[in-house]
Symmetry: C2
Subunit: 200 residues, 2 copies
């Protein structure tokens, strides 16, 4: 039994249904909402429905956008011959932060995971194949996470791309810039040695 008013209980339930938010945090968030001015609460509610209503997937690369085509796919300055394949929209953000990459993206919205019953039809693989069949793509860079599922997804897609006349590459493994050899794990270190490059 709860001693909170029903409307407050309901709001606590909603917050508690979000990932990573427990019952106690949900209570704290709900009390915080009650302490906000009414306009701010309304703005929050509108932000929720507006994001859900207006954000959709880019027709070309499946990244999140408010238009039909995202800003990167629409740009003349980006090299349409290179596609960087990532698993989530936030990965696009990470790579863009580097200011190095000038091609386009393809967002899979997931990785293959037999454990969680995610197969090739559950992620945006066929949209990628359609792009490669149509456009003049010269290189596909696999940039899924370097974990088991990310690796397996990259390998699966690389195999699918074999019949096409396209170069398929993978992000380099190695020690992070600015880090310390002492803290690098064995797998990373052996990959870094394997992938060593000539010094200029």
């Amino acid at each position: 039994m709860s001693f909170f008013p029903a409307a407050l209980d309901n709001l606590i339930d909603k917050f508690a249904s979000l990932p990573g938010i427990g019952r106690k945090s949900a209570q704290r968030l709900a009390f915080h909402v009650l302490s906000l001015p009414e306009e701010e609460v309304r703005a929050f509610a509108e932000a929720l429905t507006a994001a859900k209503a207006n954000v959709r997937r880019c027709r070309i690369c499946q990244n999140l956008t408010e238009g039909e085509v995202c800003a990167i796919c629409a740009s003349d300055r980006r090299d349409k011959g290179t596609i960087c394949v990532v698993s989530e929209p936030r990965d696009v953000l990470s790579i863009e932060r580097g200011r190095e990459y000038n091609g386009t993206y393809h967002v899979l919205h997931g990785v293959l995971s037999p454990m969680r019953l995610v197969g090739p039809d559950d992620i945006c693989v066929k949209e990628l194949l359609a792009r490669i069949a149509q456009d003049e793509v010269k290189e596909v860079i696999m940039a899924t996470n370097p974990d088991t599922e990310g690796e397996a997804t990259a390998m699966y897609i690389a195999r699918l791309l074999k019949p096409f006349d396209v170069r398929v590459t993978r992000l380099a493994y190695g020690i992070p810039v600015g880090s310390n050899l002492e803290f690098a794990d064995d797998a990373t270190l052996s990959r870094a040695i394997e992938g060593r490059t000539e010094m200029a």
Copy 2:
């Protein structure tokens, strides 16, 4: 510069403005919202505005309620002669969980804090005094948190209640039931010895 659509950025901002939620968590929550069915997002938005619109303070005890008077103040079975003073609505929940207390409550909605510029007029002290002046109150139990600000608030209110013919008590300090003496701090242990009781 952000590479997310504006509506998504706006939702991330809203989540990040909540207490204890950083930028990364806010992103994760916003992405989760996008993955929900539209009805659920609308229900969340409505829960926000409904909680803010419908939840107000009980006319008598200042606890949160949807009616004019809360369920505890409205009940015939509760002893109106005893008032338990707590700082926050969630403290009512904690004490009710014990199923021991049968009186009413008074929620201060804060504690005195010179550091954060919270004075007696910023918390519901005068509402408490009005109740004691009007009703037949026999006992006021101070149940603010056993920290510096909670203690100071309890002492301040106890002094204000001196002129009234009312017994003012404080929750007992001591070792928590089921805990281990080894882990009890010195202050708690000395309070537990000070407040020792006769064994039956």
